[in-house]
Symmetry: C2
Subunit: 210 residues, 2 copies
DNA sequence: CCTCCATCTTGACAGTGAGAAGATGTTTCG
DNA sequence: CGAAACATCTTCTCACTGTCAAGATGGAGG
């Protein structure tokens, strides 16, 4: 076998790093972010309480790795959407639906993803994936053949920022029970497309004021 | 004195309930939601570790009371805004600015406010204040003389839901470092008004698709 | 074989939330 | 006035957590 133990694979346990991430996800899903316990994650992986230390440093490191993996999954889903043949509005609706679906299927993970600064966790990999999410959204919105943004403050990104803000805000507000769509599942409503219809996605000027 | 000890005032300590809320706010601001400790809040109030129990039940109760008070403050600020003489777009900008300002001035509190379901905290008072925030936003947006919504699913509320979602999403994304406005203070940018300009706040139909 | 090193375990410590039992002051009512 | 009833607060205890230091374990390479 190769000499690449850099990722922490294939040692005494097999690859404890991946196993710990999996058990940590179970604990997170069961108990939520507030009730998360690194010891229990280790227990479920069948190792001692201090085993995670070598792989993740401390609890924040473990949660950070979990969040980074979650960002990667979300970006993968956004990037692999089939958007060809749809107009701008259709693409936005599709992207937004996927975003909300991810949040609904991974509520605890989704919560965690936007809490990392609160845990004083700043890894370059995490920021990178966060940025990748923005690019995936923007690319999906403006189409594959549009010019990529020149930087984070490129004015061409404005519609993407607006869409992301609206979709993200709706998701968190609905999950928190602040927006009641009348639907038993707060995320499974037709409210979001209707709200997105109020957004000028093309980047041109909105209709004149009365 | 009157026979109204229902609020828990004026007993041995004076009014420990209010003092605990104050010290808890200090702890929350210092250590964040993740590092909050009920024991330390009690310590700072000069009472024993178990003193909060009678007033708040458990830690979730203390945080819930804190969040409820924060909602009340936010609603007060939104409701007391002077919006007369402004058109719809001016009113929205003003409301959004106040919302973002509150979040920036009370970051830990603002974080807490949207994590109460995660803490399994559901008090009727909290839901009531959350609803009051929506009404304040809607009233500000549609004007004082507009008809109040008939219910949470009234279609007339749609623009308010959209504005709230966009503003709230922008706030959380900016605080988490996902949206980089190029400004040192992530919340102090002119990005938000520009994004709001893309929203049709009048509730009419958006411009036709190309 | 034997040393080096990544990996994992054991044991300990301070800190936390929560509960039981009791002390202390306040109110109420005979 | 006095005694019970009560709200309020303290002390003690327990299980649990994250973190650290020291040691055991076993593969890799000289």
């Amino acid at each position: 076998m190769g000499k690449e133990p850099l990722t922490g694979d294939q040692y005494h346990h097999g690859n404890l790093r991946a196993a710990l991430l999996d058990s940590a996800l179970v604990v997170l899903t069961d108990r939520g972010v507030a009730g998360f316990s690194m010891r229990e994650a280790a227990r479920r992986a069948g190792v001692s309480q201090s085993a995670p230390k070598h792989h993740f440093g401390d609890a924040r490191g473990l949660l950070g790795a979990l969040a980074t993996r979650a960002y990667r999954q979300l970006c993968d889903r956004l990037e692999s959407l089939e958007l060809a043949g749809l107009d701008a509005r259709g693409r936005v609706t599709r992207l937004a639906g996927e975003y909300v679906a991810f949040a609904g299927e991974n509520r605890a993970l989704f919560d965690l993803m936007w809490r990392m600064t609160q845990f004083d966790f700043t890894a370059p990999e995490l920021a990178e994936q966060k940025h990748r999410a923005l690019l995936a959204l923007d690319r999906g919105l403006r189409g594959e053949d549009a010019e990529p943004p020149t930087g984070d403050t490129d004015p061409a990104l404005l519609p993407s920022y607006a869409v992301w803000s609206l979709v993200h805000g709706y998701t968190t507000l609905a999950l928190e029970g602040a927006i009641d769509s009348g639907n038993p599942d707060p995320l499974n409503s037709d409210l979001l497309p209707t709200m997105l219809a109020l957004l000028d996605v093309t980047g041109s000027q909105p209709p004149g004021k009365p």
